[in-house]
């Protein structure tokens, strides 16, 4: 780090609660009491990976500059994740257009998803169009396998990354 702070006074938003519903609320059971709910063959029911789950993975990543999570700074949001068949598109918004941390933030999202998603997924990460002065360069860096691999050879960079990735799942996880 060169000690320069790109955005000393960022806007902080409240983080949302998790929006998953219980079985009663989802209309799968008549009973409010868990113990009477018909065992919906709990062992065979498949819960596919969805946008909410991806967002849960990245919302808690810490901002490299501030003691806030990416969610609190609205760098990432649930709406900015798109899911296709084995394809995921994550968009993020730097807090200021000249933010020099954008690549690092993108890289931390990439690493978190690389470690947390099955290999069958192809992940694309890009900054929100028009939100950064060197948008193309950042996007290129983040989606080029070779460049990402090269960046992860740099031990100082990995150390910073690990710090951002420290909170797994955040306060909502347990």
């Amino acid at each position: 780090m060169n000690g320069e702070i790109f955005n000393a006074n960022p806007t902080v938003y409240a983080s949302k609660r998790s929006t998953r519903k219980s079985k009663f609320e989802a209309g799968q059971s008549l009973w409010i009491d868990e113990q009477y709910q018909p065992e919906l063959s709990s062992e065979s029911e498949v819960e596919p990976i969805d946008e909410d789950e991806i967002f849960d993975l990245i919302r808690s990543i810490a901002d490299p500059e501030h003691p806030n999570s990416l969610e609190e700074l609205r760098v990432v949001s649930a709406e900015q994740i798109e899911m296709g068949d084995n394809h995921i598109m994550v968009e993020f918004t730097p807090t200021v257009p000249h933010c020099g941390m954008s690549t690092l933030i993108g890289l931390s999202i990439r690493v978190r998803l690389m470690r947390s998603l099955p290999q069958r997924f192809k992940v694309d990460i890009r900054v929100k169009p028009g939100s950064h002065q060197s948008e193309l360069a950042v996007n290129k860096q983040l989606n080029d396998k070779e460049r990402v691999a090269a960046a992860l050879e740099n031990s100082a960079l990995v150390e910073t990354l690990e710090k951002c990735l420290e909170p797994i799942g955040g306060p909502h996880s347990r």
Partner: protein
């Protein structure tokens, strides 16, 4: 005289403690005097030989130390003090002489002339730097004793004493001595005229700040850094004269220090600033503010930030301390305070930014400081924020504005509640009074937009909780507006329901009438009279939302009564017995169940908070419940009776138990008599309050009674389990009653539901009336054990039931540590060799240690502390012995099962010492097929991983086996149970934090590869654990 001489001589030769004791005894009994001893010592005290002189004085000092105070008259003290003072000049005798003096100064007969002599001699002769710690300690104790008992004499000495003491104290380093030195300095600084020496005192106190002392690991002196910090803080804040010298030191430490130094400094400033006074605070105010500002606006950590805010509060309080509270004028606010406010206002102009949050914290600190500044700052900030809220360009930032205002309201509320009673007239003039109308309007407007709704609810809650701020009709207005939120479709306002309820509950505590007139009718109208059809998911969610809102709001007595009346009416309608099957029974039952659950939840809250209005519901609610259920039970099996459903009976039983728990002995006796009349004699009039008339006889205890009647047994049982010990059961012979009960529950036609109810009665009665049921217990041990428990000719199912009956009796005895429990446990152990029921017996042995829902304090059970530990200790060694048997045998498996259940049931502190010997057995248990045993074992391992980390060998030794076992247990194809998979992953996630990297290095690649597959597990919960485990293994490196 001769004895004294003998004692002296023998001590000089032997140095035995017994001689000192004998001398003291001699003096106490008046056999000889201290002067005799001195005479006997004569030749040694003046001896040319250094060693003898020293020993002479040492003996005298030792005797003096134990000598009773009344045995020395003034004369003797005079002589002794002159003697000791002269010995101070002698290098050889200075140590025992100081020791002697430290005893002498404690004698009450010592005169001020001697005090002066002693001190002068010490000042003249003692060179502290040349002495060791223990000797310096004598000097400090001498001064300390004199300060306690001869303070005036020391004051007379004036400068001689101060200069002399300063000379002694300078350069002291040992924490034991410093504790004394700080105590002395505090008294001197507070009571003596130290002005001329203030700089020297500053030097001998501030040089220790901040304390960085860390006690040695075994801490032989019991002095902690905190002790030192506290005593030093008392010195630093002892005199206003330190102000000019001290504050620069603090400021310097603040800029240069580590976070802990900063906190220490801030804490010291909190205490010192008020003492140093307003003049000093004003002089340094600007510099202090700029230091504090840094900590608040660019915080390093929350703790330091918090301390800085506290210090800021102390600063503004001190700055305005000399102005009286009543003469509050804005003009009296200093220029600095104005500047501080203005800086914050500047930051507040951008309310959505991080700096605004810091600024409002500062304003809140001012508000809590409770001076003239408080009013000024609060009104300025409120005005600015309100203006900002109404600015059309700033609409997008309204949520932030409301959040900031909420913090402000909270701060002002704290101010009002902390104010002393005498100022209660002031509290009506809360700093927010002027802007209250604007605030209220603004918050109500904010409720209407989704973005600002949640902060607005918090703001309103803070406003309502501020005493006397909001008028009654305004509360009504708030309720009216907020009720709109509960009307809306749930999806829109999903987030705010709990916060809305929090606000309404706050209002319910102050003005329940607004809720009963405006809120409850709406909520009750949401409850349909007819059950929504099976596919009407939204309606079902809607009635449950209404019910849980009602349940949360109606804790207040008046509202609860309404709730009970309305819900009973609703239940009557739903549970009406219908001869034809015209409606969907399952969904109606579920609806009735939801209503009863809501009622139970509120009742549970009320019983936990010991509300006094609960007992009256024994008359207002219970008869209705019994009528509802008994009516259904008496209906013929052809007709539909919703209330006959066991699931409804279960909630009903809980309601009865909750109400019964709050009744006193007399009322419980009345209730239990009525219940017995119904269940044993078929007279249902009393228990239903005369509400039930039926021609069908009620006789649930007969074996040929209808299943519906027999199911209501749970209501009987729930009445009995919550009875107090003093309440006698209305039966002739309790043993016979219990035996009949066992026979009833062992009947093949009994269901699990009925047997459980019976076993609760058994357990509760055996536990509370053990002396009355000795016949029952012995018949169980002698007959039942052979006729049922071990009767191999009986079907396995019946024997399993017998085991659970047996277990309830055993547990009832066990929790009160009754000696006969052991005989019962022995029988269970014998069953471990039985091929049919060994697993059930094993499970029972393990589960005996687990928590029990029936034998609780609330149900007035007799509980002995540590009964779990006792049980564990007796059973554990037997199980360990048994588990060592032939590998793979059925017997070994049974013991393993018992162990797994036992360990899972007890708190980990109980078995932690046994962990090393348990490890191999637990690992063997991981091969058992049963998923619940596997998850028990994995959970046990996870719970212990942090404990064993002090003794990591236990885990490290098996690390590779553990990794492989867990990998096997977390793959979907190998382990169909998601609970076990998640547990295994949790354990894998813990390993990197516990085991040394080099031990597991060979597995890292493999684990990461295997976990990558598990990331695709069909269960979300399993995937989440896999993510955590994989991340931890990625970070795991040497």
């Amino acid at each position: 005289m001769a004895t004294a001489e003998r004692l002296v001589r023998s001590w000089m030769a032997s140095e035995k403690d017994s001689e000192v004791d004998e001398s003291v005894a001699g003096i106490s009994s008046g056999q000889f005097t201290l002067l005799d001893i001195i005479k006997a010592l004569g030749e040694f005290l003046t001896s040319e030989e250094d060693r003898l002189r020293m020993k002479g004085v040492e003996f005298l000092s030792s005797v003096l130390g134990r000598c009773p105070h009344e045995r020395l008259n003034r004369q003797a003290i005079r002589v002794l003090s002159t003697f000791y003072c002269s010995k101070l000049e002698d290098l050889e005798t200075i140590i025992p002489a100081l020791n002697g003096l430290s005893y002498l100064v404690k004698f009450p007969n010592i005169q001020s002339a001697e005090v002066k002599d002693i001190l002068n001699a010490i000042f003249a002769n003692v060179k502290m730097r040349a002495l060791v710690q223990s000797t310096r300690f004598f000097v400090f104790s001498i001064v300390d004793s004199l300060i306690t008992s001869h303070r005036d004499t020391l004051k007379e000495m004036g400068s001689t004493f101060l200069a002399g003491y300063l000379n002694l104290a300078v350069g002291e380093k040992d924490p034991r001595n410093l504790m004394l030195a700080f105590a002395i300095a505090r008294v001197v600084l507070v009571e003596f005229d130290t002005l001329a020496h203030i700089e020297d005192f500053f030097d001998i106190t501030f040089c220790y700040f901040p304390i960085t002392f860390r006690p040695p690991p075994d801490d032989p002196y019991g002095i902690s850094a905190d002790n030192l910090k506290q005593s030093l803080r008392l010195c630093l804040s002892a005199t206003p004269a330190f102000g000019l010298l001290g504050i620069p030191v603090f400021l310097e430490k603040l800029t240069a220090g580590s976070p802990s130094t900063k906190r220490d400094t801030l804490h010291a400033m909190d205490i010192c600033l008020p003492v140093y006074g307003s003049a000093v605070s004003r002089e340094f105010g600007k510099k202090i503010w700029s230091s504090l500002k840094l900590e608040i606006f660019q915080p390093t950590d929350p703790d330091t930030e918090h301390s800085a805010l506290n210090t800021l509060q102390a600063l503004v309080r001190t700055m305005h301390a000399d102005q009286s509270q009543d003469a509050v004028h804005e003009d009296s606010i200093t220029g600095l305070a104005r500047d501080m406010c203005n800086e914050c206002m500047q930051a507040l102009k951008e309310p959505e930014k991080a700096q605004a949050r810091a600024a409002i914290k500062v304003i809140c600190a001012f508000a809590r400081a409770n001076g003239p500044l408080s009013r000024f700052a609060v009104s300025q900030a409120a005005e600015l924020l309100i203006r900002n809220f109404h600015d059309p360009d700033e609409v997008s930032n309204r949520a932030s504005v409301v959040m900031l205002l909420t913090e402000l309201i909270e701060a002002c509320r704290g101010d009002a509640t902390h104010a002393p009673i005498s100022q209660s007239s002031h509290s009506s003039l809360s700093p927010l009074t002027a802007s209250k109308d604007a605030l209220l309007g603004l918050l109500i407007v904010s409720l209407k937009t989704p973005a600002t709704c949640l902060p607005a609810l918090h703001g309103l809650t803070a406003l309502v909780r501020t005493p006397t701020l909001v008028a009654d009709d305004e509360l009504g207005y708030i309720v009216l507006e907020v009720s709109e939120l509960l009307r809306k479709e749930p999806d829109e306002v999903e987030d705010v329901t709990t916060d809305t309820l929090a606000l309404l509950s706050a209002i319910a505590g102050i003005a329940p009438h607004h809720l009963s007139s405006q809120m409850l009718p709406i909520l009750f109208s949401f409850l349909p009279d007819v059950t929504p059809s099976r596919d009407a998911t939204a309606q079902r969610a809607f009635y449950w939302r209404a019910l849980s809102s009602l349940s949360a709001l109606c804790v207040q007595p008046q509202l609860f009564e309404t709730l009970v009346v309305r819900l009973i009416a609703k239940l009557d309608l739903l549970c009406a017995i219908s001869p034809t099957r015209t409606f969907d029974q399952e969904s109606t039952t579920a609806y009735a169940h939801a209503i009863l659950t809501a009622l139970t939840n509120t009742l549970d809250v009320k019983v936990s908070s010991k509300d006094v209005d609960v007992p009256k519901y024994a008359e207002l609610l219970l008869p209705h419940m019994f009528r509802l259920y008994l009516d259904a039970a008496l209906a013929s099996s052809e007709v539909m009776a919703v209330a006959a459903d066991p699931r409804l009976l279960q909630v009903g039983a809980k309601i009865i138990r909750l109400v019964n728990q709050t009744l006193n002995v007399a009322r419980q006796e009345k209730l239990v008599a009525a219940v017995f009349a119904a269940y044993t004699q078929g007279d249902v009039k009393l228990i239903t309050g005369g509400l039930l008339n039926s021609s069908t006889p009620f006789a649930p205890l007969y074996l040929n009674a209808s299943p519906r009647q027999r199911n209501t047994f749970i209501l009987f049982s729930s009445t009995i389990v919550s009875l107090r010990k003093e309440v006698r059961m209305p039966v002739d012979n309790l043993s016979t009653f219990l035996s009949e009960l066992v026979a009833w529950s062992d009947n093949p036609s009994s269901t699990v539901f009925q047997r459980e109810a019976a076993s609760h009665i058994l357990a509760s009665n055996v536990n509370k009336h053990v002396d009355d049921v000795s016949d029952f217990l012995s018949s169980q041990l002698e007959d039942y054990s052979s006729s049922a428990l071990k009767n191999t000719s009986m079907p396995a199912e019946a024997r399993k039931n017998a085991i659970s009956t047996w277990t309830s009796v055993t547990r009832a005895l066990l929790v009160r540590s009754h000696p006969s429990a052991n005989a019962f446990i022995d029988h269970l152990f014998e069953l471990l060799d039985d091929n049919t029921v060994d697993w059930d017996a094993a499970r029972a042995i393990g589960l005996l240690a687990s928590e029990d829902a029936i034998l609780t304090k609330r149900n007035d059970a007799v509980l002995k502390i540590l009964h779990v530990q006792k049980y564990f200790n007796t059973v554990m060694s037997r199980l360990l012995e048994g588990a060592k048997g032939t590998k793979g045998s059925r017997r070994e498996t049974a013991y393993l099962v018992a162990l797994a259940y036992l360990i899972n049931a007890v708190p980990k502190a109980v078995y932690v010492t046994q962990m090393p010997s348990l490890m191999p057995i637990l690992l063997r248990g991981l091969d058992l097929v049963d998923p619940s045993i596997r998850s028990h074992i994995i959970n046990t391992l996870s719970n212990n991983i942090d404990i064993t980390s002090t003794d990591k060998d236990a885990v490290s030794m098996y690390a590779s086996t553990l990794v492989l076992a867990m990998l096997k247990n977390c793959t979907y194809s190998e382990m169909p149970d998601p609970g076990v998979r998640a547990a295994a992953l949790k354990y894998l996630a813990l390993l990197p934090g516990t085991v040394r990297y080099d031990l597991l290095h060979p597995y890292k690649t493999r684990v990461l590869k295997e976990l990558a597959k598990i990331l695709d597990d069909p269960k979300r919960a399993v995937r989440k654990e896999a993510v955590i485990a994989r991340t931890n293994w990625y970070k795991y490196s040497g």
